[in-house]
């Protein structure tokens, strides 16, 4: 799979929604057909732009949930109550609608199957979206690299792509561990509570194994996880972070 060329200009193009998939009660995926899409790398994102009839515009960034090998470009939107953009994308947008998109964007929080491993992905909430792209790329490219996802969610119902993750965990070289912070099913054998230093000590590869680490989620989650990893002996230069959060009033 050739690495996507970085264009010299980042132009807005019109993408058509070809499918929508409700992932959880709050998260919905939109599959876009973008005729001028140059390809992308797992971990990259797009900016989308909405325009109302009085000329008002709103712009937001969304991680690409699909792998470079997948058809179309998939975005997964976490619906924020009272938000200006996310409720529009989850409640109003339907197949056939067009959305202005600019991308792919990102040269830091990216993973290619050509990179050495093992690959450690740590996510909280909607931070799982770019991890899904990385996992799907991993599954499609079959590199000789072990991958482990450590994901934190409030409840099992809040785990986006839950079924897909379970299918992925069936691979020998893939491992998925879920931490549930608020409520868990009876007999739950996954982690109970937040991802903390102790959990990471047991769940992450040791620093001597030289894992390549990506952490994504709300700012507080990312800072706590990155700090815990470093306290556990991981080298800071092996950790890449991406913080999610609201970007406009």
């Amino acid at each position: 799979m050739a690495r996507a060329a970085l264009p010299g200009r980042l132009n807005w193009q019109l993408g058509r929604v070809v499918d929508t998939i409700q992932q959880t009660h709050r998260a919905k995926s939109l599959v876009l057909d973008l005729p001028n899409w140059p390809g992308h790398r797992a971990g990259q994102h797009v900016d989308i732009r909405l325009t109302s009839d009085d000329g008002y515009q709103a712009q937001r960034g969304y991680s690409i949930a699909s792998a470079p090998e997948d058809d179309g470009v998939t975005l997964t939107v976490d619906r924020l109550e009272g938000g200006e953009v996310s409720p529009y994308l989850t409640d109003v947008v339907e197949p056939g609608d067009e959305i202005e998109v600019r991308g792919p964007i990102g040269g830091y929080f990216v993973w290619d199957a050509s990179l050495s491993g093992p690959l450690l992905l740590i996510s909280g909430g909607s931070g799982i979206v770019p991890m899904r792209a990385m996992l799907r790329h991993w599954a499609a490219a079959h590199p000789p690299v072990q991958v482990r996802l450590l994901h934190s969610a409030r409840s099992l119902d809040d785990v986006i792509y839950r079924d897909e993750l379970m299918r992925l965990a069936a691979f020998d070289e893939a491992d998925v561990r879920i931490a549930l912070t608020r409520v868990w099913p009876e007999g739950w054998r996954g982690h109970r509570g937040r991802i903390d230093r102790e959990f990471l000590l047991g769940a992450a590869w040791a620093a001597k194994d030289q894992p390549r680490i990506y952490v994504c989620g709300p700012t507080g989650f990312v800072e706590a996880a990155a700090a815990a990893l470093v306290e556990n002996g991981q080298r800071p230069e092996t950790i890449k972070t991406e913080r999610f959060g609201p970007t406009a009033g």
Partner: protein, 84 residues
Amino acid sequence: MTYLLDGNAIAGDLFAAFGREMTDVVGKCRNCGTASVVAELCVYARAPGAVARCPICDAVVMVVVTIGGECHVHLPALELQEPA
């Protein structure tokens, strides 16, 4: 702290302003000398513009203001290094 993001949040605007991907470019803070990749700068994007601060000393190192659809990038305290 709730509104704190990082350089990834303004990556599109930076690409538009510089004509190339900027998240993996190293910038040195003129206030404390710390070298960070742009993606790791502390960014406050909920403002009349985006304000990027040094993750170590908190100095304002970069300000991005969009005027009439054009992104203007100011570098009050960031020395961008040429990417390898």
